[in-house]
Subunit: 407 residues, 2 copies
């Protein structure tokens, strides 16, 4: 690309503690590589189609704002969960989209998101091919779920994993206070892939036992057998902590909490509350004190406990996504190619978006312990570097500072 | 006290992120004031009566261990919820207790805890008077609930409040991601006193709206009226965040979540899950997206987000408790007397334990906003200095380090 004018960037899917660092990287990259203007899509491609477009030069106009943006959780630009139609010549949605892109003199379109968001990059780049548009479409991965293929890991996972490991280490300390037997269930996000739940294993070190059991959605749970094993373990150890994925299923593929009697105040079957369900079940079966702790939304929003590795990488992959665009790439996702575990080193590459869109990556069976109740050294080696390092917090009156929200 | 030999210290009640800092203060104070030995009670007075006594010189034998102890959440010594019988001459429980104290040559008995724990100091000191024992009994306050009388605030509250304010600021950012109307309920601990829930107000600043409503247990909630007000607010603002105490009651004094249909998988009435209950209710009444976030155990265990003011004060009040003991005080609780709001200054004093034991302190009505849905500047002025300052974390491989647990 010889001449360049403007760049537009959007965020999509669930927020994370690192997605704004990628946005910061895109903005700084655009400035570095000489773009005239950087626009942001409010509420992803859906907002874009409704012409909700903001001038980011106006809001991200200082080095301090960029540093605050890196430390702000959630999606600064807002997000959507919108699936584009099939890209066909004459389709009205695409006609509208490309009219808007031309109107704003866009050369490069960057979209930061997970699985579904990469589908947007795939379809927009296909439509560009159909109509002969020269606009470049670049995908930047993000998801706390870490379930994207090709890339070694996704930005956002490291910070969420650090938060989970820290919480587990604190819950373990909190669980052994009284002189009695207890089981604490900690529920962690991830319906189909256990990457986040597995991060509980990182809490184990020379001063902390970590979680005693890790129940992953990749492994069907035989609840009766698990209760037996738990009962035996309670003979050896007073206080047990179990990290459990919200999406844990039995051996027939049904959600564990999908019990017939498990109804809420409105008579609906309860699908959530896996930890609460197990806590009640184990209390009634084994007669010990049980507790349920749901880590919940905070695992994707805890910017106060970001991994510096994660934030630096999220920034860099955004920055280099801009570079790929001006080098003429389109229909690609940027990804991390790990060079070495220890000392850790990854480099940023690009791949065909077809290899990524709409595909989920589970934890390899070889990284899960033989009995299925935990992960082995292969997972630890993989995950440990991703949670390393702390960002200096910018704190005012006791609270971590964020950038001012867009109106 | 001319000569001194040994000191014993115990922890009691629910754990906090600061109770170990008070233990560190007691240990350092004992060393500073020349005690020969410091013993710890395993699992409070209950464990002590079963002769579960540890030599703390062996485990807290270095400056680094003291620093780690300050940063370790929960109760290093373990805890109990045990109520002593009425102190009467000849009572077996007290005979056993004082035999053990004599056996270990104890001069000063320090107990760190909340309301119920001060009852232990009261009774032990009364029994000492009955039998003419010279052993001194000193209470050190702690509770995240901040519901002790006399003292300006309790150690542990500042760190929990900082954690809650930070979480609220992150949940607020997380709540306005999609272009739709939503209400997020964040459930916070505190059955009878709203100090912790009120800390949500500290999230409000120039870059964050904070919580839109704060529902305190001090104020009876008219649910129907609240739903109307919420509906009106949603006409002005898309995304609402409500901080709600777990103990919120209706105007007749019944728990809000005590709905007839609110039963669990085992057919039991559900008393917990106030946020979950409100989220379902509002969804069905107002037809907007709702979410429930339960902050849960982590608010008392989040040592990774300690308030430096809280930890420093917790250490100092423990240290000065030892001083009070060697000065001959007994049957007293150490407390904070606030000298000034801004710049903040408190000094440590002592009071008769009878003024504290078994009494709960609620938020004054004058600190709650007129409409009852929030707190006013008086609370903010009070609470803001308590969450100020950050401790340098001691981090290994991405996780905050704690002291090795007692076996």
């Amino acid at each position: 690309m010889e001449e360049r004018k403007n760049l537009i960037v959007g965020q999509s899917g669930g927020p994370t503690a690192a997605i704004n660092a990628s946005l910061a990287g895109v903005c700084c990259g655009a400035k570095h590589f000489g773009f005239e203007k950087v626009y942001g899509m409010r509420f992803g491609i859906e907002g874009f189609l409704n012409e909700k477009i903001v001038d980011l030069d106006e809001t991200l106009n200082s080095e301090l704002n960029i540093e605050l943006l890196k430390r702000t959780p959630s999606s600064y630009l807002g997000s959507c969960r919108y699936k584009l139609p099939k890209p066909e010549a004459g389709n009205e949605v695409y006609q509208k989209a490309f009219e808007l892109l031309e109107k704003h003199s866009i050369d490069v379109f960057v979209y930061i998101g997970g699985n579904d968001s990469m589908d947007t990059i795939l379809k927009m780049s296909e439509y560009a091919k159909i109509i002969g548009s020269q606009i470049k479409f670049i995908g930047i991965p993000k998801t706390i779920d870490n379930d994207l293929p090709v890339t070694d890991h996704t930005p956002g996972y490291g910070s969420a994993a650090k938060y989970i490991a820290t919480c587990i280490s604190e819950v373990v300390r909190d669980s052994n206070v009284y002189d009695l037997k207890s089981v604490t269930f900690v529920e962690i996000m991830g319906r189909n892939a256990g990457w986040l739940t597995a991060a509980a294993a990182l809490a184990k070190n020379s001063f902390n036992d970590g979680a005693d059991f890790i129940l992953l959605p990749e492994i069907g749970l035989n609840l009766k057998e698990f209760i037996n094993i738990l009962g035996n373990r309670l003979n050896e150890k007073n206080n047990i902590v179990v990290a459990v994925s919200e999406g844990i299923k039995d051996q027939n593929g049904n959600y564990i909490s999908e019990d017939e009697g498990n109804v809420d105040a409105f008579g609906h079957k309860m699908l959530s509350g896996t930890a609460a369900y197990l806590a009640k079940k184990i209390k009634s079966e084994l007669g010990v004190k049980t507790r349920a702790v749901e880590i919940n939304t905070l695992q994707r929003a805890a910017a106060h406990l970001q991994s510096k590795t994660d934030i630096d990488e999220a920034f860099n992959i955004g920055f280099l996504g801009v570079k790929a665009g001006i080098e003429g790439e389109t229909g690609v996702m940027m990804y991390f190619d790990r060079v070495n575990d220890a000392p850790y080193l990854s480099i940023v590459r690009k791949c065909d978006i077809n290899l990524v869109a709409n595909i989920e990556k589970e934890i390899p069976r070889g990284w899960i312990s033989e009995d299925g109740f935990g992960v082995n050294e292969k997972f630890i080696e993989y995950a440990k570097p991703l949670i390393a390092g702390e960002l200096s917090n910018i704190v005012c009156e006791g609270i971590q500072s964020h950038i001012v929200s867009l109106k």
